[in-house]
Assembly symmetry: C2
Homo-oligomer: 509 residues x 2
């Protein structure tokens, strides 16, 4: 069919995608209703069970006497490192946390709203390895890290620069966070995450953010979201608690995330796991409010299950969908932003297994109304690998999810009665006036899918999705242009890092 | 971890799957609530628009004066072949159709419930080509047809034998339906579908069913479901109408399915397409009730969209999910069983594209509460290919959907409080009593996914999902054992076919 000269299909989209300036919605505002899998009775049952666990078993807060004192002062029952909570205490503390908040980016048009009807996509977080279709699997480097930051910046469907997009294993453990935070600031203008691997690294993240945003601004606005995992079951360790304290005191948002592979870190049942993760999340979230009432915080959930044969983590399973959807309801009842989901898979390759599993997770992510989506793109091999091909494949899926989240347009144009009147029985809609006037916006256009005839596809080289993704990410990186950064800020950041790096010897832990 | 001797993981499952006797639930009874994407107001708006289309534009019923007479007699406004419907007429007629019904199989333990909270999975329907990883793409043959019937029989996750699992292009067009129906009866004992490509072939399907089930039984019970597509927009052709009449008169269930690629056969908008498909479905469904009040009928919807660049069909898109979910709500409001969804994709290979698209469709299929799922497994290349590897991959996904549809178990065992009490903070659930006693049932076990470490996976040959699927279907076919069939019935069927085949010369149309 005829195409308007201003926009010539795939080529034009590729051009706009790979150009320095990316124009797209900074986050999703959904009109699609959320899917509710638990009834009011079911939710109350799980909440009651969580309360029982908190009262009876309690949560262990390890290696942090200060936090135990805080709990004691708040009226909790503290014995050694175990803290038990009288009914109602945690809900009372949690009530000061906001239902939604803005995370600021250095480019204000990239600010994201976290909570409510909004969904924000962030890249994969944490893999020590990377994989691409040419070089296979290898340890991640700072070069890989920068590449994933660039790709996240370039994708119109990715709202956030994320955090540990891969581990830059070529840099010393005690200093790599500096280069990671700097890469997010320098190579992208989307919002990003701070380091959590030690309290002083969290402090460095805050200090670098202050060089970008100004000290006063950072003290009263969220510029970093930070991933604080619970060591399920029912445990927070000293490292995570140390980072949580730094961020909460500086008014930066923590994602308090029970990290659960059901069957190993929780019971083999959905209802049991939901009660446990609710208890863990409530304890960690309340702690942020105890440290600084009103500080934004996200109810996080990383849930999947294990293989009962091998104990290996599994992803994209029906149980993980039920867990994600159920926890979403529990978070909404606490009036908190919710983090879960993503494009999770156990597959080693970007094959059908990876896509079945990732799509199952991602569909539930949208249906559950997840507000902050870590691991939105690039996740492979149970999170051990950041994959270049998977990254751009997943971003394409995120673009579809934005359309899906928009729900059904019931405007007069959406109803399109005149189109049906014009075409009539047995006719064809391609040429009708309504189609022509909606041509630009009609239907999401995939960057990866090949919908051509098999004959055309063979002429084009019979590539599979991995092959097309491989070409796409290379093309994107080749055309990457960094967003402008005030040279004074850039100098200040480099000076800060030089001082920090010179202060202590390199270390591997 | 230790495994009980009675069931040793993958090997035992493979054995039970590939053995002659397959034991599994004959259909899904869901407790998972359906996803509602349209509000009451939105639904009323679309229903009002459908009524307007039916009144103002009407539906064309081609090449069937008898049906035009029926409509005239019912009070519709008939001019030439166009039928316009006064408001309320179609809803009044539709009210005699049952909300659910039983489709009988020759093995009564395979009977399926269609409607209500039930979901029945059937294989891909219609592809002229087949593909496997060894031989590539080729025209389908009766041998391929038989193979897919065998695989559907063997999969514990597939509830139905389906219809045209592929076109047996090596047989004459005017006789191949006989071998197709016979293959379903002979090689499987699951329920199946009748031929719709000509009224006399529909009659042959009914007559063969009578040889199996008895004439009286067939006159009062559904033993065949039959796919009647509307030629959207707003048109039914003579062939489809001829088949519909035969089946409705014999108390067999039609799936009245608008076949819509939005942008070509309907407007480029979801709300417009929903109004049109509702109008089309209501007209066809009402016609079945006009022919035989009370005959079971299914509200069908095949919906996707086209590429606005090339006009090619696309699948697994966000728009198709919204259409599926919206139409599901409209069907529920008519109190009718609903058919849609499946494992649809445009990809030419069983690659990541195929899986992303299929999973997106399948997740919506379950979330929408689809009652009868055609194309549940095997669909490739926009429905032009039946794929052996895709068939077993998709069946694995169907198994997951059965678990997902079960929803959350809120029993005491599901709540698992004692497990959390036993394990406590920082512990591990693998060895606890609750895990041991739920070991057999805990977590769906995939037949395709590899969740092992990358090192183990490499030792196993670094196969992708396609490779594992290739091994699985071959193993299944190698161990296939036909269900017993009364030799007298078998003889009667063969005699019937011999007479029919001898009566007319072979024909290619």
């Amino acid at each position: 069919m005829a195409e308007k000269p201003a926009r010539r299909g795939r080529a034009a989209r590729r051009e706009s995608r790979t150009a320095g300036t990316v124009t797209s919605a900074p986050y999703i505002t959904r009109t699609l209703p959320t899917m509710e899998i638990l009834s009011e009775d079911g939710l109350r049952l799980i909440e009651r069970n969580a309360d029982t666990l908190l009262q009876e078993i309690g949560i262990e807060f390890r290696d942090d006497p200060e936090i135990l004192d805080l709990w004691r002062g708040a009226g909790a029952d503290v014995r050694e490192q175990r803290v038990r909570f009288p009914k109602g205490l945690l809900r009372r503390l949690i009530s000061t946390a906001p239902a939604r908040f803005t995370q600021h980016a250095r480019n204000p048009s990239r600010n994201v709203e976290i909570g409510g009807d909004h969904t924000v996509f962030a890249p994969v977080y944490g893999p020590p390895f990377v994989r691409d279709a040419d070089g296979g699997r290898r340890y991640g480097t700072i070069e890989d890290f920068r590449n994933f930051v660039k790709l996240a910046y370039q994708s119109p469907h990715m709202h956030h620069s994320g955090g540990t997009v891969c581990e830059p294993v070529d840099l010393p453990v005690n200093k790599r966070h500096l280069d990671m935070v700097y890469s997010h600031i320098k190579l992208s203008d989307k919002p990003f995450m701070g380091s959590v691997t030690a309290p002083e690294r969290a402090q460095d993240s805050v200090d670098m953010a202050k060089l970008v945003f100004g000290s006063d601004f950072v003290d009263n606005n969220v510029v970093l979201v930070n991933l604080i995992n619970a060591n399920s079951p029912m445990l927070f360790d000293g490292t995570m608690l140390g980072a949580l304290k730094v961020y909460a005191r500086h008014h930066q948002a923590c994602i308090v995330s029970p990290f659960i592979l059901a069957g190993a870190m929780s019971p083999v049942t959905v209802a049991g796991t939901l009660a446990q993760l609710l208890a863990e999340a409530m304890a960690g979230i309340a702690l942020t409010q105890l440290i600084r009432p009103g500080v934004p915080v996200i109810f996080g959930t990383f849930v999947s299950s294990i293989s009962m044969q091998s104990g290996a983590p599994t992803f994209g399973t029906p149980e993980s969908s039920l867990l994600l959807l159920g926890a979403a309801q529990l978070a909404r009842r606490l009036n908190l932003p919710y983090r879960s989901g993503g494009s999770l898979c156990a597959s080693k390759l970007t094959d059908a297994q990876a896509a079945y599993e990732s799509a199952a997770t991602l569909q539930s992510t949208l249906n559950g109304g997840v507000n902050f989506v870590l691991h939105g793109a690039g996740w492979l091999e149970g999170g051990l690998c950041s994959s270049y091909e998977k990254f751009v494949m997943d971003c394409d899926q995120l673009g579809m999810m934005a359309v899906y989240g928009n729900g059904v347009d019931l405007s007069e144009n959406g109803q399109a009665l005149d189109a049906i009147r014009e075409v009539g029985p047995g006719g064809h809609f391609l040429g009708c006036a309504h189609t022509q006037s909606n041509f630009e916006q009609a239907f999401y256009r995939s960057e990866i899918a090949d919908n051509n005839t098999v004959e055309q596809w063979e002429l084009d080289g019979s590539h599979d999705a991995t092959g097309r993704a491989n070409a796409l990410w290379k093309q994107m990186l080749a055309s990457y242009q960094a967003p402008a950064l005030d040279p004074a800020i850039d100098d200040a950041l480099n000076e800060f890092m030089a001082v920090k790096k010179a202060a202590v010897p390199d270390s591997a832990y």
